[in-house]
């Protein structure tokens, strides 16, 4: 966005003061100066939150995990399939036998079993779940990670506030922060440090310092007469990259003790969950971990056995680890997909897309542990109690980390709601 810094608006004066202050300190650009001029319209809330930083770990089960094979089993029904339900550490709560280790930690977690997003398309379903709204050509909204980073990340953090981990992630940024600006767009990691984050061996500390001083000096001179939001974003990205390089080890799970590596498992998903814990522990506010693939139109039971067999141990390890480290009360963990799967089993022993009666799991932060919210009927074909949708869920995630979801972001003088103002959190679930 091309911004006229001579317009002398309140936002610009605030941004300029913070920007210059940030440069003087040699740190990244200040409050909202890069990628837009957003600032919470309730600064007192931001100050309160900064005392106890909250974080979010979102585990995205790509393809649409079956609620009947995870959180809402219906054994011995025409839709239940071959798997049994097992008791959990919460009396009266049962989940699928494919999650035996998760069953032992369910007293830290909650289930929402009454989701109806009515969006059966992968892309559109994921949009709903990560934006809390339906996709529309009229507007572009920021993803949950961008909102969480904007609302929760410390202003001068040297680490990105919004991170996504998936095989092949190289450190590039995505365009998922909409009007919040590129500072809050996600950085994609492949399970280790971002690509190109190690200084070349032939470049000494002194030489690098000289390079950075030269860059800053030239940038500052340019900015005196041609400063725009784009130049701010450019500068901010460089400063953040420098800070990230200094803290590169944060991204390296091999720095963890062997026992931890063993506990989480040595496959990608295990290492990614461990990396997520590590990043959150070091101040990253939102980490999304990707696990694939659950789009089981064919041989749903065989493939869910494989995928959940890989998911169960690391997820239970993550929950336990966060609890043991005292991080659970400040960390929201969400396990979601773009939709669930049909109760009807098709001819290939598969299940197809299903978005009108499905489930997610969440816990930590202010979520009531051991809660089960909502209900489906006997064979899972419809919600019968406390139906909610993606907007309710989005509100609930933010409320669980202490945010007032009626708040708006001030973006270039416009008030843009943090979440869909036509919806609200599931208040029963959040303390």
């Amino acid at each position: 966005m091309l911004c006229d810094y001579a317009c002398r608006s309140v936002d610009h004066r605030m941004a300029r003061r913070d920007f210059l202050g940030g440069l003087a300190g040699g740190m990244a650009a200040g409050l909202g100066a890069a990628g837009g001029l957003g600032v919470l319209t309730r600064p007192a809330a931001a100050a309160q939150l900064s005392k106890e930083q909250k974080s979010v770990i979102c585990i995205y089960l790509n393809g649409g995990a079956s609620q009947l094979e995870t959180w809402d089993p219906k054994p011995k029904t025409d839709t239940g399939g071959p798997f049994r339900a097992i008791p959990t550490s919460v009396p009266g709560m049962h989940i699928s036998e494919l999650l035996p280790q998760t069953a032992r930690v369910m007293h830290h977690l909650a289930l929402i079993r009454s989701i109806n997003t009515n969006e059966f398309d992968h892309g559109l379903g994921l949009y709903c779940m990560l934006h809390g709204r339906r996709q529309t050509p009229a507007s572009e909204y920021p993803e949950l990670g961008a909102v969480a980073a904007r609302a929760l990340a410390p202003e001068n953090s040297g680490l990105p506030g919004h991170v996504k981990i998936y095989p092949g992630g190289t450190g590039g940024r995505s365009a998922d922060s909409a009007y919040l600006g590129p500072k809050y767009s996600s950085v994609a990691l492949g399970g280790g440090p971002p690509d190109n984050s190690r200084r070349p061996d032939g470049l000494s500390d002194a030489a690098d310092l000289q390079r950075q001083r030269l860059r800053r000096s030239i940038d500052a001179r340019f900015a005196q007469r041609r400063r725009t939001a784009m130049t701010d974003a450019y500068t901010q990205n460089y400063e953040q990259a420098l800070d990230l390089m200094k803290r590169r080890d944060v991204f390296d799970v091999t720095k963890e003790p062997a026992a931890q590596l063993e506990r989480y498992g040595k496959h990608d998903f295990g290492r990614h969950c461990l990396l997520a814990r590590r990043l959150v522990e070091h101040g990253v506010t939102y980490v999304q971990v990707f696990h694939t693939n659950y789009d089981t139109h064919n041989e749903n039971f065989n493939f869910h056995m494989q995928q959940l067999g890989e998911f169960d141990g690391p997820f239970a390890a993550l929950v336990t680890d966060l609890v043991e480290r005292g991080m659970w009360r400040n960390t929201l963990v969400v396990v979601l997909s773009e939709f669930g799967r049909t109760p009807t089993i098709n001819q290939f022993y598969g299940r197809d897309h299903w978005a009108t009666a499905w489930s997610i799991c969440l816990g930590g932060a202010k979520v009531h542990p051991g809660a089960v919210y909502g209900k489906t009927n006997a064979n899972g074909t419809a919600v019968v109690d406390k139906q909610v949708d993606h907007a309710n869920l989005f509100h609930t995630y933010l409320a669980a980390v202490g945010l007032d979801t009626t708040t708006s972001f001030d973006v270039a003088g416009r008030e843009l709601p943090m979440a869909d103002p036509a919806s609200k959190p599931i208040e029963e679930l959040v303390a």
């Binding site: 789009d295 065989n302 001819q347």
Partner: protein, 330 residues
Amino acid sequence: MKANPQQMRVTQQWPCAAPLIACRFDPSGEFVFASTEDYTVQRWRMADGHKISYPVAHESWIGALAFVDKGKTLVTGGYDGRILWWPVSGDKPQPLRAIDAHAGWVRTLAVSPDGKWIASGGNDHRVKVWNAADGKLVHELVGHASHVYCVFFHPSGALLSGDLQAELRQWDVATGKTVRTFDAKALHAYEPGERVDYGGVRTLALTGDGQHLVAAGLFNGSNPLGAVNEALVLRFAWRDQKKVRQHLVPGIQSLVWRVIAHPEGFLIGGCAGTSGGFIACWKEDVEKDFFRFQLPTVVRDLDLHPDGLRLAAAQYDKQLRIVTMAPKPA
């Protein structure tokens, strides 16, 4: 009468309350049994279609059926990890015995030629051999690294097993050692995008002359989650494990759930695919199927009647179909 597969026709069709999973004729041919997705077994009398439902005693689906005690006893293997013994006859059958056999699904059962042993294979990667008369564990064979999909006894008593990763082993049951392996790797696919193992040795058979071991399933699994794959049958020389030939069903996406070596020398495959279900037939020395009989929906299991003329097909549309390989009587 000789079987004529090219004159296949559905001669009987019997409904169930749920989609079918497995089917087998009892050794006498008087009955046909099928397991269904409502955790039960149905039994039909071939002569008149009279049906009874066995009571629910497994805690999950029944994936495997076999017969012991000279055909007087039915054995069922369930996805609850248990094996149950039942009477074949009588109108109110009750379980005779139940054992906890595997940690996870029992996927496959086979009975030794002398009727003394039952072999089972399961999701715990184990092959186990049980005393057919009393259900006691006799041997546990360790070596597979993935779900065991198929067990099979050679007439000599040799035991073979195949798994999801298409390992095909022959065991010395007494020592628990693998005697030899057959290279069935073509039946396995790992799809890196979807990150799943797919395929496996779904079914085994031995030709009537004892010369060839046949393993079948699928290959070219480019999209396992979407059932994009092709049927594949591998034929190995029993004597030296060399692959003699492969058999295909060109032109359609499918897999072979069960292969049968007909005594008259051709192979029969019960197939499922995105274009529906069918029975395919192959001659010994020809790669392509010589006949395909289309059915209304996927075939999940297939069995050959002792008369060599009739097939039972377990199908998704809640029907057990009897297909006869002979022309209509004049």
